[in-house]
Symmetry: C2
Subunit: 346 residues, 2 copies
């Protein structure tokens, strides 16, 4: 069925026993790669996202350079708010700015559930090109931000440690918040379906700010909408849900029908497995800062992680995006250690 | 033994059954209070910390204005790196800057374990004055930063989402890191003993960045040193440990001999109790952003929290510092709801 030469990731997501653990890294197509920095100097962020040839080249860089087992589409979660009608500025080394954020009912009128083929067609074009260029070497992961994480930016208007304005919006104007979350959800479902139609082999939902919420709020403001997205996609491709920091809802996330759950380094693999149950693949959970350690330390720590996951239903990854100041050799040591490792007493 | 008119906090820390749950708020002497803002306009940050009359006035403001059951010394965790010989700039609304951070062995020579009476005597003077002015109305909480959290600033040189430079310092130069952590620990023990001698009724150790570490790293880089501090202080006063986000080590923190553990809103009270065991007081865990909700929502949510803690061995607090944009009425609603609540089926 699949013309993939390396389908370790997909088989692991389906729960099959594999010859070894697959490995990729969040933000693997990024600033730690000198080859990426060359393109970053020449083109603006949205130019790189919106030009299929550039998005394709960047997406494939880590496959060639670091040897990961999957490609992930080069793009940004904020293309969705952009497609929904908000202005989004991505200023390098300053983080995203949405100069006209949502605060009131009137602001909501400026937002629409768009035709994704009209507004996000460039992503689908990039995916088609990437699939062609990959030529079956590894699977391609599509992705989108979770509705709560997108609401954070759409309401707060910029990055924040606490996203208290976004939370206050949900607490003081819950009807408006749920209306916006549903619009983001509807857009995201169409967007991810479009990615799958264009060739994405699996999709990941990034809830970067899920862990800022209490368990009750996470259910009400975030998971409720993630659940809709998983339900709409899961019969087409395996879905990975990564809600950073939301360890307390791993059980509920596992019950969405997702094939995989991302976890960060603040939860031990055994405990994550206990919370999530045995019927799901776990992805993670190396501390990205640990890639700044000397290579022998990286090798030792990666082996410890792999052993802790036990070698089944595990995709090796970081617990968050790779840091820009990680030497490429260190990233390669991470990947190679996974590839060469055999879990003892498997 | 105590001339305190309200010793609810201390009795709760000792595990005694009390007539109601005590309440205070982290950063209660802070920017949400117009009365504080007046002094903030007139005096620089360190001037406010280092002038006992100002520190006293600010410390007592929330007792008068919001009616909390404890005062917490107005100061900053960065007075310790300052006393150890590092330059510390606290620029309002920009966060702390240490222009000459620790990076190498040579940098460590610039740091000393100081005589705390010489370098931090102003804090002890402030405590004596506060105790006198409080005149037994409520207990006074002293505090210090945890060694790991102070290392974060001393190495990174400024605030950070990930403190990856501080982590990299620990991973690449572990001997140096442990040397620095021990120096901070020794200073902190002397500093907190000085606070107690001056009159602090209890002390809290703030590990604001504990939750950035994996469980193994938290043990090795943070808890090992917190344990020394608790051991040195616990026979003099009850010690509260608050390692934000480090839910995964609640059991180990409870075993330090601390009387109380702070928790944030990302762990449910019942689960925190399960991890920490029954022999310790829990403090928390209201989401500070929820104080931006309408007052009836605050009242409902506070009651839900109190019910979840079950009314024994609980100190009501936020899960992190109060936000500057919280209306004073909302803070008062938080405090009053606790004071008026009776747990059902206690």
């Amino acid at each position: 069925m699949s013309a993939l030469k390396n389908d370790l990731l997909l088989r692991t997501l389906r729960g099959e026993k594999t010859e070894r653990t697959p490995v990729w890294m969040m933000r693997q197509a990024g600033r730690y790669l000198p080859e990426y920095m060359v393109l970053r100097e020449k083109y603006g962020f949205f130019e790189r996202c919106q030009t299929p040839e550039l998005a394709c080249e960047i997406t494939i860089q880590p496959i060639d350079i670091v040897g990961v087992d999957a490609a992930i589409l080069f793009s940004d979660i904020l293309v969705v708010p952009l497609a929904m009608g908000l202005e989004v500025q991505l200023i390098e080394s300053k983080g995203p700015v949405l100069p006209d954020p949502i605060k009131t009912n009137a602001d909501l009128n400026r937002v629409r559930v768009p035709d994704v083929h009209e507004t996000l067609g460039y992503v689908f074009d990039a995916i088609k090109l990437i699939k062609q260029e990959l030529n079956g070497r590894v699977p391609l992961i599509g992705f989108a931000g979770a509705p709560w994480t997108l609401l954070c930016y759409m309401v707060q208007g910029k990055g924040s440690k606490t996203f208290d304005e976004a939370k206050a919006f949900c607490y003081t104007q819950p009807e408006l918040a749920h209306q916006l979350l549903q619009m983001i959800t509807d857009t995201t479902i169409a967007y991810l379906k479009g990615q799958v139609a264009a060739g994405a082999d699996t999709v990941q939902i990034f809830d970067s700010w899920g862990g800022l919420l209490s368990k009750d709020d996470f259910e009400n403001i975030s998971l409720k909408y993630i659940r809709q997205i998983v339900a709409a996609l899961k019969d087409e491709v395996p879905v990975i849900v990564f809600a950073k920091g939301a360890w307390y809802s791993l059980k509920e996330m596992a019950e969405t029908g997702a094939a995989g759950l991302g976890i960060d380094w603040c939860i031990e693999p055994q405990l994550a497995r206990q919370f999530a149950g045995n019927n799901i693949t776990l992805q993670g959970n190396f501390d990205p800062a640990k890639l700044l350690s000397p290579i022998p330390v990286i090798e030792k720590e990666v082996k410890k992680m792999l052993q802790a996951f036990g070698g089944t239903r595990h995709i090796a990854n970081l617990g968050h995006g790779i840091l820009p100041n990680v030497p490429v050799d260190h990233a390669r040591a991470f990947v190679n250690t996974v590839k060469e490792f055999q879990v003892s007493q498997k």
